[in-house]
Symmetry: none
Subunit: 198 residues, 4 copies
């Protein structure tokens, strides 16, 4: 299994840095190889082609994240608290890894349609986690019983993603972590006012 050899992650980590620092289209295979400290040809002993590096990058980084989240929400607690934890974990992941934030929020988006479909496949795991929380919330009565799960999921993911992207595009000038709670509040309560400020 190639994935267990040290150079596999070495190349993926190099790709994150190379893409973050040079931009998607300027991160040539030779730059990634140089950053990884291996020869160009060596890349092809571990990855089928360049696209394979990118999809593997996303799988490794996001896959781990999804597993972590999945465990995190497995235990007890309200759906709302689980949602908050998820948002915090998501923001934390990007906040802690500057390079990764740039790569996932900006650079990887300019990949071609094919690659983006495969990235979306990875994301499906994340969306399923969100779905789980929503369904649990509905069942426990925390969330509105007539919630359209798909739409709610799109709101949750779209909002988190948009908040993260804006933060990266604003050169990370403010503390993303501090947005987790207000974002969470917004997703639960929406914009509307009901006479009581919670």
């Amino acid at each position: 299994m190639k994935k267990n050899k040290p150079k596999y992650m070495q190349i993926i980590d190099a790709a994150v840095i190379a893409i973050a620092e040079n931009g998607y289209h300027q991160a040539q295979v030779s730059k990634i190889a140089k950053q990884a400290g291996v020869a160009d040809g060596t890349i092809y002993l571990y990855f089928k082609n360049k696209e394979d590096i990118l999809i593997s990058l996303f799988e490794e980084k996001m896959g781990n994240f999804i597993e972590k989240i999945d465990q995190m929400i497995a235990g007890k607690g309200t759906a709302a608290s689980k949602l908050l934890k998820m948002i915090e974990a998501h923001f934390s992941l990007l906040y802690e890894d500057h390079h990764l934030a740039i790569v996932t929020q900006l650079e990887l988006r300019q990949s071609n349609k094919d690659l983006r479909h495969r990235i979306n496949n990875v994301l499906k795991g994340y969306l399923q986690v969100i779905d789980k929380i929503i369904i649990e919330g509905i069942e426990t009565g925390e969330f509105s019983p007539d919630l359209d799960v798909r739409l709610a999921r799109q709101m949750i993911f779209g909002t988190i993603d948009e908040a993260a992207t804006s933060w990266v595009m604003n050169e990370e000038k403010y503390n993303l972590l501090k947005l987790a709670s207000p974002v969470h509040h917004l997703l639960i309560n929406g914009c509307g006012f009901r006479g009581v400020v919670e």
Copy 2:
């Protein structure tokens, strides 16, 4: 003024079709020219370069849309009703123009960072419209008084955009227009349940 000549819009419309049908990177200038029924060189009588076609495309299509929305929400009505109109207008724009939906939601996102920054500039106008509605809603007491405008805007835009992108990626299998009302309801009320289904 080049923009008033018929070939200007002819080329832009051709670009939308060519990009939608071939993909961003496979929509060569020669393909756009062919689609427009002009010679390759003619393109450069109306646009500085290929990137200029794309930014102009976005400015024309989105710019017009933003103006329309802006007028639409100028009159009377609640902030909530204005938000609904906006969402309907947004979904309608994409629903009515299959090619445009593909181009704005999928293809144009793989443009390089420079072009994306210029696209974001156009989008700013849209975000300001959203801001206007939010602020109006807060002032009239419809929306929560302690709403963070920036976050609310990110939720609204992020949700609309994610819903639209999902619809396109799902090959537009369902009727996007019908989502306007439930999406609007979600944005106003959030996921949370308060014992009353409105």
Copy 3:
């Protein structure tokens, strides 16, 4: 005869300016037309193609010059004095017309081989004038009887041309006219020293 119409010389003069100011490869037909105050298409009513403008330019400017020189040396006087007059006329032509100097000494040289052959054809007239002076000098005993006319002509033309080109490349910092006499002296006497400074 097209040559007698006012626009013929108008275009040629515009070409001199356009080439001098923009360089040979940046002097597009449209620039020449603009400088001449006519439409692009009008150029083709007076010239077969772009090359025809350039060759005509050279013929007009140099042709006139050669005729003038030819008349100048027709009268009495020593061969040496005629040579001096010719050098002075040559330097004067370039000294008086800044644009023409740049065009003939620098820009027109980057024309293709074909055009250069045709330019050389025009130059033949000039070379024949030089030959006339040399032969006359030999016959009168002023010049060495065993002079190889072709070589002497190459020395005279090569020296004048090199002096003129150097002057233009040095941005015409010094007075070219003042070089006529010392250049003439050099051509007559060579580098060698014979104990007497004339």
Copy 4:
């Protein structure tokens, strides 16, 4: 160091042939690559761009030549004899390499101003060699003490260059080498007659 690899000179030599046979503007990179027996892309492993091939070509061929001349005139001997050697070396270089003669005397002259300036920089070394000889000649009393070094240099270079160019334009019908001696004689003695044939 790229210059030491065999393909570096292989490509330069191919460029000389391709340019000589096809003309400057018809010597596309692909033709040079084909002539060199390498792929188009290989060219760019050794040269920054097409212009870099041409300037390198000139530097290699002319640079070597200038060094050789410089050593040649370093030893003893009269200034006049050194001048003769230089002319012979110059004519010999072109006479021995048909392709190089065409390239330097005709084709490379149609390069753009920028490239020509860089070529002139290389030529400066040659002009300095000429200056050395002139100054030495003045100091030893061989040459006229009131010689203007710059003008003398222009005469010498202009004459040699014109003779060489004429020879190439006449399709090298006669033996250029045989012109070295009479050209040398002309440069030393000029056109004038002093009653004694030396």
